[in-house]
C-alpha cells in the first residue's frame, strides 16, 4: 500500500473542494439504504398518505441540495427563470446525474392542442406550392409529425441527422392523439385538461426497482421520494409546485410505468411556455419559405438550427422575443431584444443566419456560438460585418 500521509483537515466543510460527481456506489447499497428508509417510516405512521408525505419530505431535502450542487457545478451558477428552462433542467441534468439517464417529458393536453391547431392552420395557408413533395405524407400524419418533432426538439434540443432517422422515430398517427392526450415519445399516457400540469414518465424508477407493494397498500408508490426530490428542486428554484408519483398501467407490460405529475402553483407563469413552443413553429415557417431547391437533409438541419438557436438564445440569455418584427402571427419570434440600463442588443435569427447588433458588444458572437454549440452542437461562424441579408444590401 502506498504510504499514507496525514490528510489535509478542513475546518469548514465548505472549504473542501467540490468533487466532480463521478464517484459511484453499488446499486444494492442504495437499494438497502432506501429500503431501511421506507421501513423506518412505516413504523412511524398510521396510514399510507402519511407515509407518502414523509417520503416526500425526505426527498424534498435531497432536491433542494441537489439544485444547489448542480447549479454550482454544472451550470456555472446560472439561475433558471423560465419554465422551459427549469423543466429541461429537471428532466435532463437532474435525472442524468441522479439516476443516470435522460427521460421523456409530456405536456398538458390543451397546450398541445393549441400548438397543433396553430401548426395545422399554418400548413393550410402554405400548403399550395410551398410544401416540398417529399413531405406530403397526408395531412393528419404530417401535422402530427411536425408537431411532435417541434415539441420534442424544442424541449430536448435534439438533432436529427437524416430523413431516415426521422422516420425511425416512433411517432404515432393522429387518430391516437385526442385533444386531451399528450404526444410523449414512446408511451401514450392519459393526458390532462390542465395547462399547468407536466408529466415526467419513466419505465421504472430506480427507487422502485427492488420494491413490491402489498395489495392492501393501495396506490402507494415509493416514487413519492423522487416526487419529493423534484418538488425540492422546483421549489428552491422559485417554481412552487405540487408533485406526485403515480403508477400508470401499460398494456403488454407486467409492471406499470411510473409518472411524476408536476402541477405548478398559480403564481408560476405557464404562459411563457407557450411562447417557447412557438419558437419551434417559427422554424417551421422559415423552413418552408426557404425550402425550395435544397435537399431534405439540409432542410431538416436548417429547421433544427433555427429552433435550437432560438431556444438557446432564450434559455441562455433570457432574451425576450419581441413582436416588433412579425409575420402577423403570435407564434413568430425572430427578433430578440436585450435591454438593460446602459446596453441594448438586437439579435435577429433567420433559419441559419444570425444578425447581431447593439452597443458595447453586449452579446458577442463568441458567446452565442459557444452556447449554441453546447446546446445543439452546431457551429456558428462569425462572418464579420453585414453586407447583405436575405438578398437585401446593407451598409
Amino acid at each position: 500500500m502506498i504510504g499514507v500521509g496525514k490528510i489535509k483537515q478542513y475546518t469548514n466543510v465548505l472549504d473542501k473542494p467540490l468533487s466532480k460527481g463521478k464517484q459511484e456506489v453499488s446499486l444494492s447499497a442504495f437499494a438497502f439504504l432506501f429500503s431501511e428508509l421506507v421501513q423506518y417510516n412505516q413504523t412511524q405512521v398510521d396510514n399510507i398518505a402519511e407515509l407518502e408525505r414523509r417520503l416526500e419530505d425526505a426527498g424534498y431535502a435531497v432536491g433542494a441540495r441537489v439544485l444547489e450542487l448542480l447549479c454550482h457545478r454544472e451550470k456555472g451558477n446560472r439561475r433558471e427563470t423560465r419554465l422551459l428552462g427549469i423543466l429541461s433542467f429537471v428532466h435532463s441534468t437532474v435525472w442524468k446525474v441522479l439516476f443516470g439517464k435522460a427521460l421523456e417529458i409530456g405536456f398538458g393536453g390543451t397546450l398541445v392542442k393549441k400548438v397543433l391547431m396553430e401548426v395545422s392552420d399554418r400548413f393550410q395557408d402554405m400548403k399550395d406550392g410551398l410544401l416540398p413533395d417529399a413531405w406530403d405524407l397526408g395531412e393528419p400524419t404530417m401535422v402530427d409529425l411536425w408537431s411532435c418533432l417541434v415539441l420534442r426538439s424544442a424541449v430536448q434540443g435534439s438533432r436529427i441527422e437524416s430523413l431516415a432517422a426521422l422516420q425511425q422515430m416512433n411517432l404515432f398517427p393522429l387518430e391516437q392523439i385526442k385533444p386531451n392526450c399528450s404526444p410523449v415519445a414512446d408511451s401514450l399516457e392519459k393526458g390532462t385538461e390542465h395547462e399547468d400540469e407536466y408529466m415526467i414518465s419513466e419505465k421504472e424508477l430506480l427507487v422502485n426497482r427492488f420494491i413490491s407493494i402489498l395489495k392492501d397498500m393501495g396506490t402507494f408508490n415509493c416514487g413519492a421520494f423522487v416526487a419529493g426530490i423534484v418538488r425540492g428542486v422546483l421549489d428552491s428554484a422559485g417554481f412552487p409546485a405540487v408533485v406526485t408519483a403515480h403508477f400508470v398501467p401499460v398494456e403488454g407490460q407486467l409492471r406499470p410505468r411510473t409518472t411524476i405529475l408536476i402541477k405548478f402553483a398559480e403564481e408560476v407563469d405557464t404562459a411563457s411556455f407557450m411562447s417557447d413552443m412557438s419558437l419551434g413553429l417559427n422554424a417551421l415557417l422559415h423552413l418552408n419559405l426557404h425550402a425550395k431547391g435544397t435537399t431534405e437533409r439540409s432542410k431538416i438541419r436548417m429547421m433544427f438550427t433555427q429552433v435550437s438557436c432560438s431556444l438557446s438564445l432564450v434559455s441562455m440569455f433570457e432574451l425576450v422575443p419581441s413582436d416588433l418584427v412579425s409575420i402577423s402571427s403570435e407564434t413568430n419570434a425572430s427578433l430578440f431584444i436585450y435591454r438593460n440600463a446602459s446596453d441594448v442588443a438586437y439579435i435577429l435569427v433567420c433559419v441559419d443566419d444570425i444578425v447581431n447588433t447593439g452597443n458595447h458588444n453586449s452579446y458577442d458572437i463568441e458567446h452565442i456560438s459557444q452556447s449554441a454549440y453546447h446546446v445543439v452542437g452546431c457551429l456558428i461562424k462569425d462572418v464579420g460585418q453585414l453586407h447583405d441579408f436575405l438578398g437585401v444590401g446593407v451598409n
Binding site: M1, V4, K6, I7, Q9, N12, V13, S19, G21, Q23, E24, V25, S26, L27, S28, A29, F30, F32, L33, F34, S35, E36, L37, Q39, Y40, N41, Q44, R54, D57, A58, G59, A61, V62, R65, V66, L69, V97, L98, F99, G100, L206
Partner: protein, 199 residues
C-alpha cells in the same frame, strides 16, 4: 484446503470458482451516483434526529438499521464474491475491508492494529461516501454519523456465525483524520441446524 472447500459445499457440481477481487465485482455490478446515496443517507439521519431528538437514540437506531441491512447484505456478498470459507478472523477482516467495502461503497478500507490474540482489529476508511458535504452541528456532537456502517458489519458477521462488537474509534466528522472502526470478535457460534438428525 481445496478439499475442505468442496466438502463444505455439498451442492456444488462444478469446480470451485476462484474468489473475485473487489475491483472486479464493483465494475460488474450496477452502480448509482454516490451523491444520491450520500444525500439519501443525510435525509435519513435528519429524519431520525427530528423524530428521536436524543443523539444516543439516533445512534442506536442507525446501528439497528445497519444491522437489518447487514443480515441481508451478507447473502449478496457471498453470492457475488465467491469467497471461500475464511480460515481465521484475520482473513475475515481482510475480506471485509478489501472486497466488502469495495463492492458496495466503492472504497477500500485497510486493516491495522491487530491485538495479540488476533480477535480485535481496526478498519480504517480514508474515503467515505456517506460523509460528503456533511458537517456536524454543535447540537449533535455525540452523534456517530456513520453508525449504520457498524451495524452492517455486525449484522453481516452474525449471519456467518461470528458475534462481534463494533465501535468507532476515530471519526472524521469529529475532527479526527480518518474513520476507524474497531471490530472485536466476541465468540464464534457454531452453526446450528434447525432439524434434528433423526427426524
Amino acid at each position: 484446503f481445496e478439499e475442505t472447500k468442496a466438502q463444505h459445499r455439498p451442492f456444488t457440481s462444478m469446480a470451485p470458482v476462484a474468489p473475485r477481487s473487489g475491483d472486479v465485482i464493483f465494475a460488474s455490478v450496477e452502480r448509482v451516483n454516490a451523491e444520491l446515496f450520500t444525500l439519501t443517507y443525510g435525509a435519513i439521519v435528519r429524519q431520525l434526529i427530528t423524530d428521536l431528538e436524543e443523539v444516543e437514540e439516533v445512534n442506536k437506531q442507525l446501528d439497528q438499521m445497519g444491522y437489518n441491512i447487514g443480515i441481508r447484505l451478507i447473502d449478496e456478498f457471498l453470492a457475488k464474491s465467491n469467497v471461500s470459507r475464511c480460515v481465521d478472523f484475520k482473513e475475515t477482516a481482510e475480506v471485509i475491508a478489501k472486497v466488502g467495502f469495495k463492492m458496495f461503497l466503492g472504497v477500500t478500507a485497510s486493516v491495522t492494529n491487530w491485538d495479540a490474540e488476533g480477535t480485535c482489529c481496526s478498519l480504517i476508511l480514508e474515503d467515505n461516501p456517506l460523509v460528503d458535504f456533511v458537517e456536524l452541528p454543535d447540537t449533535c456532537q455525540g452523534l456517530y454519523y456513520c453508525n449504520i456502517l457498524s451495524g452492517v458489519v455486525r449484522g453481516a458477521l452474525e449471519m456467518v456465525s461470528m458475534k462481534t462488537e463494533v465501535t468507532w474509534l476515530r471519526d472524521m466528522l469529529r475532527g479526527d483524520d480518518a474513520f476507524e472502526l474497531q471490530v472485536k470478535l466476541l465468540k464464534q457460534v457454531p452453526e446450528e441446524y434447525p432439524y434434528k438428525d433423526d427426524e
